[in-house]
């Protein structure tokens, strides 16, 4: 038996343990808590929660609605996103980066802001339509308060998501595959139908699954468009139940949120099954195909793409700005009526709005900061670690983000409804429960870019420090962190932008004093004060734009694909 060697693995163990604790707290705990509530409400195994949920007709109606808008929104997003991706990636269209930037922008805007912007564009009070005197008479129903309205906006919101994934797939398409088909006599359109799109099946499937999960879990759009028409989907049903019944109905909502989770997972599984049916693997790597020359069609196609941008980005934002300048509901905007009063009101006068700005800013900063700090060691273990179980950790970090936000919100409520054992600390009804949910939900947004950052770094850089005598923590601080910092920080900025106007989670977790921007915006809109809601939206959109510009400065140091809006 060889002598035991004194190994100095203390730091490694400490790091692994710390990471494990963070992941258990943020990912596994909420999921397990939720499952426990369903199968063993009150501590004993029973099917009561499931039975009650299944017996309620509201459940079935909302599930049906969820499926309708989920599938409809997904179809629209996949069709539009794939079409734009093909045109942008495979043709010789001009102004590509600008197009990509503008087309992807709606992804950076919170869904409820999108909803508000479109509502302001088409409603009877629309300052935009009033500019031409084309607004319907007051009292007319806004056409967007409908199933098709919700589907349209979900498609607009998540088309860019599909676009990004399909475009990434198209970029990896080796040109030989296209050229071989061209040489075989196929024209461009035939190549597209018979070669390109079939090979893109995995990308399109993955994009569809992601779009489906996002549509099904979306709260902002069905809340703004569906609630006024009494068209409830599962997330809005949960919201209404909780708003009306408080903690008493938590068990019931837990069932509903698991139902959303199951629907979302079914979408992901369906994608897995579809993608496995054939072999789509592309083995070679090579340059991408020569762009197809559109010839005389180019101006037409370019113009239609910019028209699309005008429709999905420029006009809604323009409508939003106009609304924010109007003094009150239904008043036409003229040089005389234009006012900044709405901004003054939400920024300085309205208490809840004030608090919301403060809360949202520091929640977003805290979530971003924490995520960057945690993503570096977690990414280290996942990307470079030797332990195989760490890869499972990766999955469990993905889960809270892959599942709809409502699921995590309900889980957080369940965990913190009662004071934390042994300490007596009460998070329920404070802003801290929102922070917890943000940390759990958004960690993966910083982790993904960090991991791709790690994959771009030569491991020898760390090994060189190791032979120089540096222990793990020293290496992490002096070598590893500086090298992955751009990617991690870019991830942090993405988190900040996402969390700033977040609504899904905070709508269920907020309490008086812990309002977020999204929550106050929502309550303004529900109370008919669209002008204030619009002013708040314009402010958050402006902050987001500025941050995107700042983040762009990091771009040269980032792995490609970290900043979605950069081509």
């Amino acid at each position: 038996m060889p002598t035991r060697i004194r190994e100095s693995r203390g730091q490694e163990m400490a790091l692994t343990a710390a990471v494990a604790v963070v992941i258990v707290l943020l990912s596994l705990l909420p999921m397990l808590r939720l499952v426990k509530e369903i199968v063993a409400p009150g501590g004993t195994l029973s099917a009561i929660a499931i039975e009650t949920g299944l017996r309620s007709p509201a459940t079935w109606v909302a599930t049906w609605h969820t499926l309708v808008v989920g599938i409809g929104g997904t179809l629209l997003a996949v069709l539009s996103g794939t079409l734009v991706a093909v045109l942008v990636s495979l043709t010789d269209i001009r102004g590509r980066s600008a197009l990509v930037l503008c087309y992807v922008m709606p992804l950076m805007i919170a869904p409820q802001v999108t909803a508000l912007a479109w509502l302001q564009l088409f409603g009877p009070a629309s300052p935009f339509l009033k500019l031409f005197g084309a607004a319907p008479p007051l009292g007319t129903k806004n056409p967007l308060y409908s199933t098709s309205g919700i589907i349209l906006l979900l498609g607009v919101q998540y088309g860019p998501l599909v676009f990004l994934l399909v475009r990434a797939g198209l970029r990896k398409l080796p040109r030989e595959l296209v050229e071989a088909a061209r040489a075989g006599g196929a024209n461009w359109f035939t190549v597209l139908i018979t070669i390109v799109l079939p090979l893109m099946t995995p990308s399109i499937m993955a994009a569809s699954a992601l779009a489906f999960v996002s549509c099904v879990g979306n709260f902002g759009i069905p809340a703004f468009l569906g609630i006024p028409a009494n068209y409830l989907v599962l997330p809005t049903l949960i919201y209404q139940k909780l708003a009306g019944g408080g903690p008493a109905v938590l068990g019931e909502t837990a069932f509903l949120s698991v139902l959303i989770g199951v629907i979302a997972m079914a979408g992901i599984l369906a994608q897995e099954v579809m993608s496995r049916r054939r072999d789509y693997r592309i083995s070679s790597t090579s340059l991408s195909a020569e762009p197809y020359e559109l010839g005389r069609w180019r101006p037409v196609i370019q113009a239609s793409l910019w028209l699309l941008i005008l429709l999905v980005l420029v006009l809604p934002l323009f409508g939003l700005v106009l609304t924010s300048l109007v003094p009150g509901y239904g008043i036409a905007l003229t040089a005389k009526t234009a006012t900044l009063d709405n901004y003054r009101f939400v920024l300085f006068e309205h208490d809840a709005a004030n608090r919301a700005f403060f809360n949202s800013f520091w929640l977003s900063i805290a979530a971003a900061f924490f995520a960057v700090i945690v993503a570096v060691p977690v990414g280290y273990l996942i990307a470079w670690g030797k332990q195989r179980w760490v890869r499972l950790l990766n999955l469990s970090v993905e889960l809270p983000y892959a599942l709809p936000g409502v699921v995590l919100a309900i889980a957080s409520l369940l965990i913190f409804l009662r004071p934390i054992p042994f300490t007596g600390i009460q998070l329920y009804n404070t802003v801290w429960i929102i922070l917890y949910a943000y940390l759990a939900r958004f960690l993966v947004l910083a982790l993904r870019p960090t991991i791709s950052g790690y994959h771009q770094i030569d491991r020898a850089l760390e090994e060189a420090a190791q032979v120089a005598g540096a222990g793990l923590f020293t290496r992490l601080r002096t070598i590893v962190f500086p090298l992955v910092a751009p990617a991690a920080i870019a991830g942090g900025l993405l988190i900040f932008m996402t969390a700033l106007s977040e609504l899904t989670v905070s709508a269920l977790l907020w309490s008086s004093g812990s309002e977020t921007i999204g929550v106050v915006m929502f309550s303004f809109e529900q109370g008919g004060d669209s002008n204030y809601a619009a002013a708040m939206s314009v402010i958050t959109v402006a902050v987001t734009f500025v941050l995107m510009l700042v983040t762009n400065l990091l771009a040269p140091h980032l792995p490609s694909g970290v900043l979605p809006w950069r081509d």
């Binding site: 038996m1 060889p2 002598t3 035991r4 060697i5 004194r6 190994e7 100095s8 693995r9 030569d458 020898a460 850089l461 090994e463 060189a464 420090a465 190791q466 032979v467 120089a468 005598g469 540096a470 222990g471 020293t474 002096t478 070598i479 500086p482 090298l483």
Partner: protein
Amino acid sequence: MARLTLDHVTKSFADFDAVKDVSIDVADGEFLAVLGPSGCGKTTLLRLVAGFEKVSAGEIRIGSDVVSNSGGSVAPEKRRVGIVFQNYALWPHMTVAENIGYSLKVAKLDKAVARRKVEDALALVNLQGLGDRRPANLSGGQRQRVALARCLVAAPSLVLFDEPLANLDVHLRASMEDEFAAFHKRSGTTIVYITHDQAEAMALADRIAVMDHGRLAQLATPRELYHEPANEMVASFISQGILLPADVLSAEEAGHCKVRVLETELVVRCRPGELPRAGAKICCRSADLEVSADSSGFDGLVKRVIYQGGAARIEFTPAAGPDLTLHFEQPDPVTLVSGAEARLRLKSGWLIPAAGPAS
């Protein structure tokens, strides 16, 4: 400075043995080259010594300390080895001086002392005054020198090189080779130098360990490897040795024995104690072959003549062994043409020892 001992070291990845039962003893101050075709486990061997990989079996000692065995593994940062990586692995976010001074900073050395040591190290590799540059602004050769200085500054007991010249152009290689040799002479450090380039290994090393599929094929001086390869792999790998089937006719006498090869009789060098046997192999060098001037030797066909300036490389198939290809050089005037019959003569050769433990 320290001696390095690998004692029956094996490293398996899943069910694949990347390093199999390798035993090497590197003396204090020795320059050992590890040579072998790509994928034979050289890098893995080096990473075992550095401590980045754990041994599956066997033991590694540096000086008198056991650093790896199946009971555990001393962390790389505690081993006091220096590595020059193939791609240099300079930290892009630090200046040249910060790169070099890193290990001193980690060891919390006094700042002034550290600065002086960094200056010394820079001077040692002829990079005075470049301390404030970023690695990105250096040429390939300069980066290589920074990497060398960085590993030297900590005065490691053992320096490991992993194909340090593979990324440099031919011109720079020669000058860096000289520099490594000079550095070894000056510092007297124990060096393990990995390469797949025989010329480099021969030029630099005191001894060469030839590896083949994870095993140590032979550990010997460059001269011995060339003249007395221990097995067929080494014989054919080093300088494209020619292997010929032979029968040993007489027992060894004064380091020689008589063999029958290509239906002719020949006296070749051999190990002490060789006895007559059939199915042996001899190793010849192209210099051992010449065009026969008289009736001695064996007939065959000239397959190809490749003129290389001043001489031609001739590929020849003997009539007695149609599957064999012999190659040798004929200096100008080149008289052989492809397709012609010719008669060649073997001057000497080396009897490859019967398969058994490598020396």
